[in-house]
């Protein structure tokens, strides 16, 4: 049978993922459109258009400053998640015969540095939410 596509086979592996992706987008889009067409249409009024705050009129816009702790967590995530990504190639390579003791020693050093960084973060109180 004549090939439809002639590209690198690693890319071809992703073809079903693309199909599933399109299906998911189509499903969500179809639902939104059907609901937009079939749903009842009501009139707008100032009360209906106000942000829901349990019956009290909202005082300000919601786009205000919020706690810096969320930014700290995001920063920590970037740091530590990259370390996790470094673990994966190491883990995939671990079962190569004859290298395990070396790889284990290597990981002890790496995890030691990571533990030190973690200890610093915890001692600094970066993940303490209740403490001021």
């Amino acid at each position: 049978m004549a090939p439809l596509l002639a590209v690198d086979d690693r890319i071809v592996d992703y073809l079903p993922v693309l199909i599933l992706f399109l299906f998911a987008i189509g499903f969500a889009g179809l639902n939104l459109v059907v609901s937009w067409l079939a749903g009842s249409k009501g009139k707008h009024n100032p009360v209906k258009d106000a942000a829901y705050e349990c019956g009290l009129p909202p005082i300000t816009d919601a786009h205000q400053r919020f706690s810096v702790k969320f930014y700290l967590v995001a920063l920590l995530f970037v740091l530590f998640d990259i370390e996790v990504v470094f673990l994966y190639p190491w883990a995939a390579y671990f079962q190569e015969p004859g290298r395990q003791v070396f790889l284990f020693a290597e990981m002890c050093v790496f995890a030691g540095i990571l533990f030190f960084g973690w200890w610093y973060v915890v001692r600094k109180g970066a993940v303490d939410w209740a403490k001021e």
Binding site: M1, I25, S35, A51, E53, F66, V73, Y88, D128
Partner: protein, 380 residues
Amino acid sequence: MNPLLASLPSSPGFLDVLKSLGLVLLVAHVMLGLGAILVWAERRVSALIQDRLGPNRCGPAGLLQSIADLGKFIFKEDVVPHHVLKWMYILAPTISLVPAMVTIAVIPFAPGVQIADLNVGILYVLSISSLGVYGITLGSWASNSKYALLGGVRSSAQMISYEVVMGISAVGVLLTTGSLHLGDVVAEQASSGWFLWRQPLAFFLFLTASYAETNRLPFDLPEAESELVAGYHTEYSSMKFALFFLAEYLAMIVASSLVTTLFLGGWSLFGLERLGWLAGVAIFMAKTLFLLFVFIWIRWTLPRFRYDQLMSICWKWFFPLALANVLVTAGAEASGVPALTWVLPVALLGMGVGAAVLAQRRDPGPPPELAPLPAPSSSR
């Protein structure tokens, strides 16, 4: 066209494309159907636990409740309040739903029954499923409402924190398998035992992290009803709300099937999978459904964590434990004594029991003095 590329034997023929199209449609429809049944099951099981009846009017035992709900969602008014950022607000439910559906692609349901056998396997799952946080964050920001925004920032901080734990705890499994292919992980378990027994700590951490990733109780802070109304989807109505709701249940299905694949042996069960691929799929489904039941069971049994507890559990306990588990697993593999992976969980259990016994024995001392009530004032 490059002749080298054109001569590659693995270029898909028409039949291959048709086959994967069929599989995609089948899996996606089963998933959506399962999501609808899960909404019903959630309400029925909660009713069972709380000694109520639950929805039992639509069809046998209320099974058609989700279809009735769908009809209602379609015909309800789709309110787009004036204060929202309109396009982001409309796109957010879709952004939340799509990653939940696309993640299922690399899960092996039976030997060879898999939408896409990618060489990055688990890495694909972790990277795509974490995109779901964008839908929630964008939706909450676009809603321009304080409850929604609080839910959104809580949700993003919680999901990215637990993602680190999830990623590290999966490393122990991959290290023992020596491959990122999820099919290889299941084959390894079929031949030499489930990872539930070989990686007990990783199983516990991964399962807990997947509860936090899907915003389920005991970690449902992003939509804590008693404080944030409905969290990030407070301002949503009609089908947009339904898509957020469905995305949560699809994420639960993906998380359950991932735990099944990584720790519960996927399609393997005492060699029964040799009966054929249909048996494999049935075994896989049975395990996934059981895990989904546990999801619901836990939701209606455990109380909610406080936000500072949630964060400190993740960063102060789960993160170092997961990393230590990787080290211990590597040491156990290198020294040829796989049972060493039990050292950590047994030690932790011992510490827990010891602390409980000590707390029981400790003399509680005299009861605390209550401050005297202020004398009632006679003046008005």
